[in-house]
Structures are given as C-alpha cells and as structure tokens.
C-alpha cells in the first residue's frame, strides 16, 4: 500500500471533531432529521478508521517513528513555547486502530441500543468528541497537549455517564467519575510541572532523550514517574482510585463498552507506555506500578465475585484486567501490556455489548433476575461465551495469548507477583463464568419475554467475537510485540501451538479451567449451594460484598465527615465568624464608640463654641511653646 501523506494524519482526529461540531451546532439550525445524527458520526469514525488502518500498515512496513510538525499553540518569547505536533509510531498506530474500530462498532451498536432515546444528538456528539480526544491523546507529541486531551476525554466520560442526568444515581456517578479521575490528574499535572521545570520542554521525545542523557535523573524522575502513574491510576481505575468505574456503569451500556472498557480506561496504560523511557530510569516507580497493578488485579477480581449486577461484574473485571496490564508495565514490557490492552479492548467491549443486549431484551442488569437466556438469544449467548473464554484466557482465544505473556513475564521476574497474578486469573475465570451461567443458564424467569436483539446490534457483536478469537494471532509470529520493541520472532505455528508446550501454559489453562468448572458446579448444576459458600466464608463474603467498604470510607468518612462537614465546614465557620466577624466587630466597635462619642454633640452651640475655643487655645499654646 502506498505510504500515507503526512498531512493526512491530521484528518484522523479532525473527522470526529467535525462530526461533533456538526452534530452540536448544525443539526438543529439546518433542520436535519434527528435520526440521521448517528450516521454522521459513524461516517466520520469510519473514515478515521480507514486512515488509521492505512497508517498502521505503513508503520508495519517501515517501522519508523514519524514526527509531524504542527503549529505553535502558545508561546512567550524566551519563556515557553508549546508546539502542537503529532507523533506517529507503532504504539500510536495500534491505539488509533483500536480506538477507531471500537468506536465505530459501538456507534453502530448504539443505533440499535439507543433507538428511541431522547437527545441522541448529544449522545453521538459526545461520542464523536470522545473519539477525537482519544485519538488526539494517543497522537500528541507534547505532554501538555496530551494532558488537555486527557482531560477532555474525562469530560466526555462525565457527560456520557450522566447522559440520563435525570436519574440521580447516574448524575452522581458522573460527578464521582470526573472527580476521582481528577485526583489522578492532580498527580499527572504535578508531574508535568516537575518535568517542565527540570527540562523546559513539554515535547515527549525531547523529554525522553533528556532522560536518556541523564539531564533529569534521580528523585526528579522518580517523582515525575509517580505523578504520571497517579494520573494513570485515576484514568485506569487502579486501586485506590478505582471506585468511580463501577459507578460509571450507570451510563448507557455502549458508552461503558467504548469508554469504560476498551479505550479511555486503557489510556492510563497507554500513558505509562508512552512515558516508559522515563520509567526505565526509576526502579522505584516501576516497582510501584507492578505492585499496584497486582493488588488491583486481585482485589477487583474478588469483588467481581460478589456482584449481582452484570455490568458491575464486567466493571470490576475491567479494573482487574487493567491491573494485569500494569503488572506487565511494571515488569518492564510495554509491548506485552499494549498487547493485552489490544486483545482486552475487543473481548471486553464484546462482553459489555452482550450485557447491553441482554438488558435490551430483559430490561435489567440484575443477574439474579435473569437465567435461561441462551435459547431465546443465541447470538448474544454465543458471542458472550466467546468473550468470556477469551477473558478467562482459554486457548486459542485472544485473551490466552496476551495473558500468557504477562504470566510468563511475571514468572520469570517476580515470583510473588506471579502468584498474585495467577490467583487473579483463577478469579477471572470464576467470576466471568458465574456471570455466564447466571445469565444464560438455568430457566427463563416467567415475567420476561426475552428476544434476540436486532441485526444492528448483533453484527458488531459478531465482528468483535471474531476479533476476540483472532486478535491474539496478530502476534503469532511475535510480530506484534516486535513492532512495539520486544524482539522474539518465531514461526506462526510455534506462536499458536508451540506455546502449549510450555508447562506454564498448562498451569494457567488448568487454573482457568478449574475456575470455569467451579462456576459450572455452583451456578449451573448447583452441586454446591452458593448460599452455603457465602455462609461458610461469611466474613470474607461480607467484606467483598461491601467492596471492602472503600466507597464508604471515601464518601462517608473522608469526603463527608473529614472534609466537607469537617474541615470545610470549619473553614466556612471560620470565615463567617472570625474573618468576617472581625470586620463586623470593627464596624460595631465604631458604631458603639460613636454612640458614646455622639453625646458630645449635645446640640448646644455654646458647647461647640467652647470646644472650638479650647482648640484655639491649645493651638496657640502649641505655637507659643514651640517658639
């Protein structure tokens, strides 16, 4: 294929932006029919997808990093100069394709899922804006510009979670999501300040080369990396900033699939990957990334076991999988992390769409009210199972290959992390098949009349199902990882079948299989009563069911008791009683003293005359005494 003209790179984010502007500003004034709005954004995204693929093919062929210069956005002579430019390397190109593809499929899916909903204009507009910002985020060659897109992505997430703003939980979840990710952004911004202060530039490649040449080093780098990672923790919902993601499920399901499963939450992983040359110079930062990742993977996996809302299960699963990616990053491999991001994007988006499809037909997300949906919804069931197998890491699904790489890497580098990861993998298989069996197995509950969703929803799901199976094969020869810098090429036969020769692969398959079997035993066959288990492990169950009380800790104690009605209330009282009180007191003092002093003004002119004469005498005396 011909190499793509450089200027065309700009068109990739420009198209969704144009769609956004058109939807928001032109649809109503031009009286365009509102059912066309989805097609506007789908067309734009499709074109972007086309250009992204073209770009990726180019990159695969040439394997070079291109810097596309832009324009000066803000400059102040001798003090600051912010150049907007694009960086196009393999990392970017892969992300572009993932984002545009998922966005495209999700929008098509939305046509069916959101059909009949009000203000679809706003919905598609913000999806377009989100796509634009996400594309900008992965292409930016400048930390500050990246941060800008980072924030805009968060804003779109806020808007879309709160799409049904008239539902109080949705509105609250939107606020929570924006606020908690902003705590992470606090760290990111601090890191940017630190980096700018140390290097005087925002340009990512310049920062990398300065770090390589040792201009910034030591604690500066560690702090900068920790700051950046804090940003990543916020966006990628890593412990302890994870609480917003489950709540974000209040948003429309396609939004969850796009933003809260495949793309935006993976932006944290991307960010660490992008800034990896900095992390390389700080052992402490890398260890932190790995440890946080492992804790999150395990911790979210346990919570997912106890959730009854299918979307919540998927949300905690996402958190857990993002933890896996962080482990990979912390262990030193960007390539593996991005590989897992790549496969995860497909199967998790698929799972969310499946959940959406189920909801579309039953009107609920509560798995206790579902059951037996396999028969009435065959396509949904089949694709959901494929996604689940992929998530659980069963050969030959995509998830197997990427997860295997992570486990292998942990096994080679850090036994403790490996143990944590393998437990998390077991939990993954258990909770996802718990969801599968609760939803699709058993009997249909009588009050529902479930039916298969329309083609417009099934087709994107089927496409994703294909990808959930096949995405792993992109690395069959090690090519995917090689593209991202890891060099272990081998033949495709080895890539697909040879891995099974490794004992670790069998171990992990065994673990995953036992997870699935356990789920089958409990939720399908009911050999073991789930109630009994809950009672047996009562203590553990309570903890998990209450999500370790972290939400309560944050909202009730930290947020409300300590800060809002504690410290801030104190400030407020201080302000009105002490600061303003002092002012009022000074005024009152004046008023009161003048109440006394005004008695002097008795209205008798003679008294005034005398006072006047006293003054004259005093002045005269003064003059005399001075002379």
């Amino acid at each position: 294929m011909n190499s793509m003209p450089e200027m065309l790179t700009w068109i990739i984010p420009a198209l969704p932006l144009a769609a956004f502007l058109m939807l928001l500003l032109l649809m109503r004034p031009l009286k365009i029919k509102s059912n066309l709005n989805g097609y506007v954004s789908i067309a734009a995204t499709a074109m972007s997808f086309f250009f992204s693929t073209w770009l990726l093919v180019n990159i695969v062929q040439t394997a070079e990093t291109k810097f596309i210069p832009g324009f000066s956005w803000l400059s102040l002579e001798g003090a600051i100069d912010i150049q907007v430019g694009l960086i196009v390397d393999s990392l970017t190109a892969i992300m572009l394709v993932v984002v545009t593809l998922i966005s495209l499929l999700v929008q098509i899916y939305s046509l069916g899922y959101m059909h009949g909903s009000k203000s679809l204009n706003r919905y598609f507009a913000f999806i377009s804006l989100f796509t634009m910002a996400m594309l900008g985020l992965v292409m930016a060659d400048n930390l500050l510009i990246m941060f800008m897109f980072w924030e805009i992505v968060g804003l779109c997430s806020y808007q879309l979670i709160g799409f049904w703003f008239h539902r109080p939980p949705a509105a609250r979840a939107a606020r929570k999501a924006f606020f908690i990710t902003r705590i992470g952004d606090f760290g990111f911004l601090a890191a940017i300040l630190l980096i700018f202060n140390a290097t005087g530039t925002f340009n990512i490649s310049e920062v990398h080369s300065l770090a390589a040449s040792g201009v910034i080093a030591g604690t500066t780098i560690t702090w900068a990396c920790l700051g950046i990672f804090m940003g990543a923790m916020g966006k990628s919902a890593q412990f302890p900033l994870h609480t917003w993601l489950p709540d974000a499920m209040e948003g429309p399901t396609p939004v969850s699939a796009l933003i809260h499963a495949a793309t935006m939450v993976a932006a944290g992983v991307f960010l660490v990957g992008r800034m990896y040359p900095l992390f390389e110079h700080s052992e402490a930062a890398l260890t932190t990334v790995a440890v946080i990742g492992a804790i999150t993977a395990l911790f979210a996996g346990t919570i997912a076991l106890a959730m009854n809302d299918i979307k919540k299960v998927l949300a905690y699963s996402t958190i857990s999988q993002l933890g896996f990616m962080m482990i990979a990053l912390g262990l030193g491999s960007v390539a593996i992390a991005i590989f897992h991001l790549f496969t995860h994007a497909f199967f998790k988006a698929l799972l969310f769409m499946g959940a959406g499809s189920v909801n579309h037909s039953t009107g609920t997300f509560d798995m206790r009210k579902m059951g037996g949906l396999a028969r009435p919804m065959p396509w949904t069931c089949a694709t959901f199972v494929i996604g689940s197998l992929s998530l659980a890491g069963i050969w030959p699904m995509a998830g197997f290959f990427s997860k295997e790489e992570i486990l292998l890497s942990a096994f080679n580098n850090h036994p403790l992390l490996f143990v944590l990861a393998i437990i998390a993998a077991f939990l993954t298989a258990l909770y996802i098949f718990r969801a599968v069996f609760m939803t699709f197995g058993g009997q249909v509950q009588s009050r529902f009349k479930p039916h298969e969703s329309g083609k417009v929803m099934v087709i994107p799901m089927s496409l994703l199902a294909i990808l959930a199976i096949s995405a792993g094969y992109f690395n069959a020869t090690g090519g995917f990882l090689k593209l991202l810098g890891d060099d272990h090429t081998h033949s495709w036969i080895y890539g697909i079948f040879g891995v099974l020769g490794h004992p670790l692969a069998w171990a992990s398959l065994l673990i995953a299989g036992s997870g699935i079997f356990l789920a089958y035993a409990i939720y399908q066959r009911r050999w073991i009563s789930s109630r009994k288990i809950a009672r047996r492990f009562g203590f553990f169950y309570t903890i998990v069911f209450h999500k370790y009380w972290i939400d309560e800790l944050y909202e009730k104690y930290l947020g409300n008791k300590l800060l809002n009605s504690g410290l801030f209330n104190l400030f407020n009282k201080f302000d009105s009683k002490v600061v303003d009180g002092t002012v009022d007191d000074v005024a009152r003092l004046n008023l009161n003293s003048s109440k006394i002093l005004r008695l002097v003004q008795n209205g008798n002119l003679q008294t005034y005359a005398m006072a006047f004469m006293i003054g004259v005498a005093a002045l005269a005396l003064m003059v005399i005494l001075v002379n």
Partner: protein, 162 residues
Amino acid sequence: MGLQIAFWVLALIAVGSSAGVILQKNLFRAALLLVVCFLASAGIFVTLSADFLAAVQVIINVGAVAILIIMSIMLTREVTRGSPSNRLGAPAFVISALIVFILVFSILTTAWPISGAEPAQPTTSVLAQILIGDPGFILIIQMSAILLLSTIIGAIVLMKEK
C-alpha cells in the same frame, strides 16, 4: 497726659460695663450696659484719632444695634426671667482666662513694627480714598451692600407671619 487719663478711664468703663453685662441679672440693664460699652469704645476710637469710626460707632452701634436689641428684649418679654447661666461657667472661665493669658503673653512678647508717623487727621478723606478710591476696597463695599440687602430680605422673610 490727657490722652492717657482718657484712655484709662474709658478702658475702665468699657471693661466694667462689659463685665456688668455678664453679671447683670436684669436683661434690660445688660442691654443698657452694652450701650455704655459701645460709647466707651467710641471714646477709645477718639483716643486713637479715629474720629470717623467713633462717629460711626455711636451712630450705628449705639443708635441702631443697641436699640434693636432693647426692642427685641421687650418683644420677647424675657426680662422677667433674668439672665441665667448654664453649667459651663467654670470651664468657660478657665478658657477665657487662658485666652487672655495667651493673648497678653503674645502681645507683650511680640516686637510690633510701630510706625512713628503722625496719624492722618482728619481720617474721613483718607478713609474715603481707601474705601472707594482706585486701589481700594470698592468691590467689598459693593458686596457689603449685597450683604445688607440680603440681610434685610432675610430678616423680613424670617419675621413674616406664616
């Protein structure tokens, strides 16, 4: 010598009569003592060879002002109440004494640029020159006229029965 005697006598009368004004309980008598004071001051003007002014003093102050005051005393029928004092007596006395002291002190300690020239006699033409002559106070004279006019109008307005 005669001048000296005249001054001291007149000074004594002036001070005495004005002290009388304050001490006198009877309003009517106080007004009469004011006339005495005016007359004494006219005499003092004579000792200062200010003949015109002495005449003016007698005509205006004694002839008009004092009469006006006496008439108003009669109109207000305040004679019966006497001339009571308020409670500011003691501090007013101290202040007045202090002011006398300060004035006397500064009068005595100042070196006055006394001119030895003989005073102009008679003063009328010189005064006329200075009041309405060329480099003179003609503007102020005219403004005095306005002042008096407005005084008349003001007094009439104030006194008009509503």
